[in-house]
Symmetry: C2
């Protein structure tokens, strides 16, 4: 059987481009640029909760890096370095090689150096920690939103939730939409370019990992305000096309997690600028409502009726 040290050498050691010392010592050495704040985030992925145990290992590797890099996008930071600690029940060389390739591919796609980690035996567990840089004071936090500002969402949230329903046999998606929905689930695209472009524009931002409503709740709580969502503005077309069920599409959009789109607030006088950014990045940016003084989340339906929505995030220990 391969030793832990062989495994690290064979699968987990990659060339670095912006690191003073990578894998192989008690720690890695890196040098943040002067005037920058370092942004640090860690995400742990567990089989059954964050991915299905029989999922493609390349996709698991991609996703492990992507969900971490997405946190850098959500802070308007440039992701630069990442570590990976993992527990493995057994050594399956083919699985490991594909997993490491997927992790490295995502790192390379976003110019992130894989600088080190830890390997141990145990129930499958993947824990990455990512480091980014942002000019001091320019990170976009969850706490900066103000009543009167617009609320925006990137991309087509809901596709990943529909992809998961397809995988679990709970829904039969339209044939044309299976691939994009599964891609949204398995290979989320951290919105790094968008996050960087929103420095100085967005007043609050986070990445939607636990569902749009639940994550919106975090912004509202930290920014001490409420929100009015307009149903007619929700980017429902693609989830609807995928499942041809309006209620399911809306539910996937509002409550589905795992799309890693950016939810952000911005002053109303920046609408033209944000629309131009959407064209430039070739990424839909949709204004879905407004922030207001009254707490809570209200949904304004197309027929003018209003209903209160519960800002419940996906909770790993919830009932």
């Amino acid at each position: 059987m391969s030793s832990e040290f062989d495994l690290i050498a064979r699968h987990f050691t990659r060339a670095t481009r912006q690191t003073d010392l990578g894998v192989g010592d008690d720690g890695a050495l890196l040098r943040p640029q002067a005037g920058m704040q370092l942004v640090v985030s860690t995400d742990m992925l567990v089989a059954g909760t964050h991915f299905l145990a029989d999922a493609d290992p390349h996709a698991i590797g991609w996703k492990t890096a992507a969900v971490n890099i997405s946190d850098m996008a959500a802070m308007a930071a440039q992701p630069r370095w990442i570590t990976l600690a993992l527990a493995l029940p057994t050594v399956d060389e083919a699985w490991l090689a594909a997993f490491a390739e997927g992790f490295a591919a995502c790192c390379a796609a976003f110019d992130v150096d894989w600088i080190g980690g830890d390997t141990t035996r145990g129930p499958l567990n993947l824990c990455a920690t990512v480091f980014g840089e942002v000019p001091a004071g320019e990170a976009v936090l969850r706490s900066g939103a103000r009543a009167g500002e617009d609320l925006w969402i990137s991309g087509r949230p809901g596709l990943a939730a529909l992809g998961l329903q397809q995988l679990l046999g709970q829904r039969e998606l339209a044939a044309d939409w299976r691939v994009p929905c599964l891609a949204a689930l398995h290979r989320p695209q951290p919105r790094v370019a968008l996050g960087l472009a929103l420095r100085g524009l967005a007043t609050a931002m986070l990445d939607v990992s636990d569902g749009l409503l639940g994550d919106l709740g975090h912004v509202l709580e930290q920014s001490h305000c409420g929100a009015l969502l307009e149903e007619a503005r929700l980017p429902l077309a693609e989830p609807f096309a995928a499942c041809q069920d309006a209620a399911a599409a809306r539910n996937a959009l509002l409550r589905g997690g795992d799309d890693y789109e950016l939810l952000f607030s911005a002053p109303a006088d920046l609408r033209a600028q944000i629309t131009a950014l959407s064209v430039q990045l070739e990424l839909p940016l949709t204004r879905i409502g407004q922030l207001r003084e009254e707490s809570g989340i209200e949904l304004l339906a197309a027929d003018g009726t209003r209903s209160t929505l519960v800002a419940r995030a996906y909770d790993h220990f919830g009932a």
Copy 2:
């Protein structure tokens, strides 16, 4: 049942002293000092491999922080920040409170800010990532040892291995030694002050987590040299007093892991300075041998006979 967010608020959110933004956003914000390199290390702990499942949760918390902080000591870095991601099978409030107290106590003892993390449901897994600072170019790596230099070890390695044997019912330690051996196992003391004091003195260094011989092997491999250990110099007195068995004491010292003592090399003309440091820090520092050109590790016994030792580190995937 408590939600994930309640748990984080109740147990995992502590005041920080040297951090711009701690727990609660997509990432933490910190600002390394100008001219410093950042040192990053991550260690994952799993029940059964790194601690017994029924161990005192306060001790598990302490150890999770300590083994990470120890990596900073081993790089001659000042530890400053730490994140903790954990997977929990269930929510046991009493266990969690004690675990978090132990983790926080170790952080506080070494002036480390606990800046964030992640909590998920899954088989028990504890993954911390630690960040330290070192003046650029002054980190002590594994690769800097040269033939002719002395080899030193801190403290009394072997006590943790004997403590584990006692716990597992494999050995009955002398009554006076049970407490110190179990303390070495459960509450390892990262040698931060020693690591910092050895900047500019030690040429190579690491912390002994996988056994002295195995970890020495890493230094020798990266420094391209070999070592001659002198049995008469090994600090065997305390392991022997604990178990009154010379072979067991020697084996615990050479092959036992988990003491987190620092193994380092230094030029012979620094002996007096290092001995003075030992007095100043009230920490035994023992010169146990010498580095040499010939590869491998040889042991010179008290009677003048020589034998070759195998530099085998504890391997999580070994046979």
